[in-house]
Structure formats: C-alpha cells, structure tokens
C-alpha cells in the first residue's frame, strides 16, 4: 500500500512527463479496443449474413460437389430421397441445383452459375418469392453486383446457354424479375437464381439437387448416403481465416503502438533510477529492502497503465460508443472485393475484449517497468545515498 501511495505521489510530481506517457498508452488502449471491436463486428455481421443468405443451419453437399472446382459441378447432382423430400416439405431444408451456363448480355459472353432454388423456401433470405411465375417465361433474380457487371436491369431479357445432363446445348431467354442487395458476394457474383423446377427440366435432372440447406434451428438432420453434411465450422472457415489474417495484420499496428508507449515508459524508468539514486539510497537506509525499492519503482511504472486506462475511459468510451452507433462506412466499391462485408461495419466491444486489453497493457507495462528497476538490487546503498553514479 505504501508503495502504491509513494508511486502515485512520484508520478503526480513528474507532471507533464507522466501525462505524456499516460496519453500515449491510453491511445494504445483505445486503438486496440477499437480495432478488435471492428473485427468482432465484421465477424459477427459476416457470420450472421452468411448464415441467413447462404448456409442456414448447415448444408448437405452432393459427395462430388466442390465449389472451388467448376468442373465437378456437372457430376454433382443426385435425386432427392423420400426422406429428403419429406424434410423439404416440413421446411427443415431446401434444395439447390447448380449447373454451369453462359449468358450473353448485350452480346457479351459471360460464364454464370445457374442455381435452381425453391420459390417457396423460407430458410434463406434470398427473395425467391419473385421467382413465382405462371406465364411460361423463365424468371431469374440476380444480385446487384452481377446486375452491375452484366449491365442488367429488372425487366431485361438475357439469353442463357446451358448444357443438359447429356451435354447437349440448349438456350433460352431469361427474364430478370428482381435485383437483390446482399452483403454475401458468394450468393451474388456470377449467379443466376431461377426456379428449381424450371432448372431441373432445362437440364433434364428431374427431382435432383446439388446441395440442401437446412434451417437455422434444425441443422443436421441425419445421414443421407451420397451426401455429406457441412456444418458451420466448415462453411464459415473462410470468414474465420479472413478475420484471423486481418487480426494478424492488426497485431503489427498494436506492436508498433505498444512499442512506442513501452519505449517511453522504459526511458522514464531508466531516467528515474539514474536521477533518483539518493532517494533509492535513503529508502534503503530507512529500512526498505532492495526488493521493496524495486517493487516501488515497478509499481510506479505500472501505474502509468492504470492512469492510461482511466484516461482512455474518459475520451475512449464516448468515442467508441459513437462509433458503435453510427458504424464505420466502407469506401465505395469495397463490396466488389468478394468479401462478406456490409456497407457499414458496426464495431462490437465485449467485456472480455476490454478486460483482456487492459490486462495485456498492464502486464506489458509492469514487465517493461521492472526490467530497468532490477538495477536497483545491484546498487551499493552507501554509494547510492551519496549519489555516486553506478
């Protein structure tokens, strides 16, 4: 307690030098919490949007299906079993049939993924209700990125050329009935969504599907021979890896920022020990052990981080709260990078994040304060009290 009291008095006595150190350290606090908060917010939004728009409670993939190998798509389809059909009718899952095709907007050939989806499905946020049509045309919905890339608008007709199950070419006009906006580019870029029954008849694959998406509440239903269940851990691995990569990039900034703050603390400690040798000698002469003096100087250094935490609270809380409310708007065109990224990221700060960051800064500051203070234990008290340089 005495050490804390003395450390506090010494720090306050140092005035500007203390407050400069505290301010730099508080900046590190706020930036670390803000950056981690942004990544957390991005992670949560990306997971939520991917679940809502694409993967539901997990997906059953046909055993040959590999989304990264377009050549597997033509062999990745199988008839739905009775159990699957029953589960679809109960709203537990919804089928998707995938095939490769080409579209010719304004006479330009573009490869697309043709995806048949149930217009009545309620599992995904895809606005499939627009695909209900009785006029004999093939209705299609596309994402805003595809619409922009292909220069397509609602009401436009576009020629689609595809191959049926035997490899025979077929072509027809498809009507764009709706353009949706989504943060999940994997449900948008280069994808043409059409009713699954039309798709099945176009490619001559009656009652067949490539994937089955389960509802959020149910997830895994059971084993289906020839189908492999992919859970959230697998399906969200890309997002996890992306956040991990971004976190590693962020750590470089933390290290630079913390190094600056720690350098200032280290410097202050070295200077204090050098200039306050007589004080150190007096403490020892008055009965303090060298260990106690080391502790006094270590507490003094570590107290910078406590003061920094308070200072960070004063200006950081309103700043971070405001950021969490208004969000961080992404620059135009960011959503074209193929990342699951909304227009505005709302940072998410957790207690764990704040406590964790405080502990990291406190421990680091304590270690950095202790390192120069170790010299005190090697000092000769008699020389120290005379102020002799050691």
């Amino acid at each position: 307690m005495l050490a804390i009291k003395l450390a506090y008095r010494n720090l306050m006595g140092a005035r500007l030098r203390t407050w400069l150190n505290v301010f730099v350290l508080s900046l590190a606090f706020v930036v670390i919490i803000w950056f981690k908060g942004v990544l957390n917010g991005w992670n949560q939004q990306a997971r939520h949007d991917t679940i809502s728009w694409q993967i539901g409670g997990g997906q059953y993939w046909h055993e040959n299906y590999d989304p990264y190998d377009p050549f597997t798509v033509e062999d990745s389809h199988a008839p739905l079993t009775d159990e699957m059909t029953a589960a679809i009718k109960q709203g537990k899952m919804t089928p998707t049939l995938i095939s490769q095709a080409s579209i010719y907007p304004q006479g330009r050939i573009q490869s697309v993924s043709l995806r048949g989806v149930d217009p009545d499905q309620q599992i995904l946020e895809l606005p499939t209700e627009y695909l209900k049509s009785d006029d004999g045309e093939i209705p299609a919905i596309i994402g805003s990125r595809t619409a922009k890339n292909s220069k397509l608008n609602i009401g436009d007709y576009v020629t689609v050329r595809w191959r049926d199950v035997n490899g025979t070419f077929d072509a027809n006009e498809v009507k764009i009935v709706h353009i949706f906006k989504t943060d999940v580019p994997t449900t948008d870029l280069g994808i043409l969504w059409i009713p699954i029954d039309k798709h099945q008849s176009m490619v001559q694959m009656p009652n067949q599907a490539t994937t089955l998406t389960t509802s959020h509440e149910i997830g895994y239903i059971g084993e289906f021979p020839g189908w492999v269940f992919k859970d959230h851990y697998f399906l969200l691995s890309e997002i996890r890896e992306m956040i991990k990569a971004k976190s590693i990039g962020g750590y470089i900034y933390f290290i630079i920022l913390m190094s600056l703050a720690m350098l200032a603390i280290f410097d202050t400690q070295v200077l204090s020990i050098f200039r306050r040798q007589k004080e150190i000698g007096t403490h020892i002469a008055l009965g303090m052990t060298q260990k106690q003096v080391v502790a006094l100087f270590t507490v003094e250094g570590a107290m910078h981080s406590i003061l920094a935490a308070f200072l960070a609270m004063i200006y950081g809380i309103p700043l971070l709260a405001l950021q969490a409310k208004v969000g961080w708007s992404m620059p135009a065109g960011t959503d074209d990078f193929g990342l699951t990224l909304s227009d505005t990221i709302y940072p998410s700060y957790s207690i764990g994040l704040v406590v964790g960051t405080t502990l990291i800064v406190l421990i680091t500051t304590t270690i950095v304060s202790y390192l120069p203070a170790r010299r005190i234990s090697k000092m000769e008290p008699t020389d120290a009290i005379r102020g002799k340089i050691q």
Partner: protein, 247 residues
C-alpha cells in the same frame, strides 16, 4: 377423273426429280469422301475477331486420315511452341517452357474454347462423326453464294451430342459444306460455319477460308484460312506420338 389425271401428271413430274435426290446419308458420305486423304501437311492462319481486337494465330498441321493430327503453333510469340496431338478421341496439349507440361484434354475440358476462338475442342473433334450421331434429311435445294446446294437437316439420334440439330448447305457439285448452322434443343441458332473461299487441288475442292461464329455473341467470329496444303507426303509415325510433343 381430272383429279386422277392431275395426280398422275404430278407423279410424272416428281418421280424423276425424287429419283435424283440423294439421301442425307449419301451426301454426308460424299462430303467425307471429298475430305478423305492419306497424309497431309498444311499451314493455316486463325484470326479471332473479338471485341477487344483481332488475334492471329499461325500453325502447321500434320494429318494422317481423320484419326491422327499433330499441330504446332508458330505465331504469335505467346503461342509459339504450343503443340496439340489428336489420336482418335484423345487429345493432348503441350505448353513449352517454362511450364513444359502435357495436358490431356478430356471430359469437361473438351468444352473449352480453342485458343479463345469461337470453336471448342469438342467442335474440333466431332467433325467426322455426323453420320453416326445424326439422322440426315434432305429438305431441298437452294442457291447459296451462286452455288447450287443440297440443304440437309440433321437431327440427333442419340442423347450424347453437343448440338441437337444442324442444317447444312452442301455444294451439289463440289460436295463441300458451304454453310452449317448448329441449333440448341429449343431451336435457337447457336453457331454458324461458312466457307467463304474454296480452292482446287489434287482433283478435289477444298475450303480456303472458313468463318466460325458463335451466334449468341456480338463478336465477328473466328476466321480459319488454309495457307497451304500438301497431300500424300511422307510423315514418320513418330510425329503422332506424345514424345513428339516435347521435341
């Protein structure tokens, strides 16, 4: 009575004409015969007309019947040294250094475009299989580019074909398919091939300049020009081996 006389007269008009109409199968056979040769070496130019400009690719080909073909690309510099070997239904492509790789073109890869042209490897491979896959019907005689042509309608007899139907205009004298249209199942026209120039060599008429066009796209198609061809030349068997690709 007068209807019977009319019918007899009409029969009298049509019977001799019908007797002169060859069957679709006969016409396809005549086309094949015109194209049959033992061995040949040719040089050709392929001009790909795309929206971003034209690309010219020069190549030299060694052929033995319809089963064996070896092609070496000569220009431009980017394509120079690439080689292609076709043995029956098998196709290999060699890419020179630095990749120095031989790729087998099969399955889905056959559906890819040849050097970015309007032709797929599949289009290139299937030319000699029409009679086995299609039912050919002669639907009339038309003048096409001042030449009298038989018009053939081909409908697939098997499921495993790229084009459900085709229409071919065959020169009735020279037995060259001057124009061919390939259709989707829906009846939509997908591709058109036209022979723009012909030449006469070694007692047969051959295409000089051919244009392939993807009818759904806005490009001007791919032009194929035979610069020179020599028939019945000596080609060592080694030329049609995979080892020759790396030579």
């Amino acid at each position: 009575m007068k209807y019977i006389i009319l019918a007899v007269l009409m029969l009298g008009i049509f019977i001799p004409v019908n007797a002169q109409i060859p069957s679709g199968d006969d016409i396809l056979k005549r086309i094949d015969q015109n194209q049959v040769f033992d061995k040949a070496i040719s040089t050709s130019t392929m001009i790909i007309h795309s929206r971003t400009g034209d690309r010219t690719i020069k190549s030299k080909a060694w052929s033995s019947g319809t089963e064996k073909t070896f092609v070496e690309y000569l220009a431009p510099a980017r394509e120079k040294g690439k080689k292609m070997l076709k043995l029956g239904k098998n196709l290999w492509i060699y890419t020179p250094e630095p990749s120095d790789r031989i790729i087998t073109i099969s399955g889905h890869l056959l559906k890819q475009s040849v050097m970015g042209s309007d032709m797929s490897y599949e289009d290139m491979m299937e030319s000699d299989e029409l009679r086995s896959k299609y039912d050919a019907k002669v639907i009339g005689k038309e003048m096409y580019k001042d030449r009298e042509c038989w018009v053939l309608d081909l409908t697939a007899t098997i499921d495993d074909v790229a084009y459900f139907s085709r229409k071919i205009w065959v020169d009735a004298e020279r037995w060259l398919p001057l124009k061919e249209e390939r259709f989707a199942k829906s009846g939509m026209l997908l591709k058109r091939t036209e022979i723009l120039d012909v030449f006469y060599q070694d007692d047969r008429w051959l295409p000089k300049r051919i244009i392939f066009k993807d009818m759904l796209s806005r490009g001007d198609g791919t032009e194929y020009i035979i610069d020179s061809i020599e028939f019945n030349v000596q080609i060592p068997e080694y030329q049609f081996t995979k080892a020759a690709l790396r030579k």
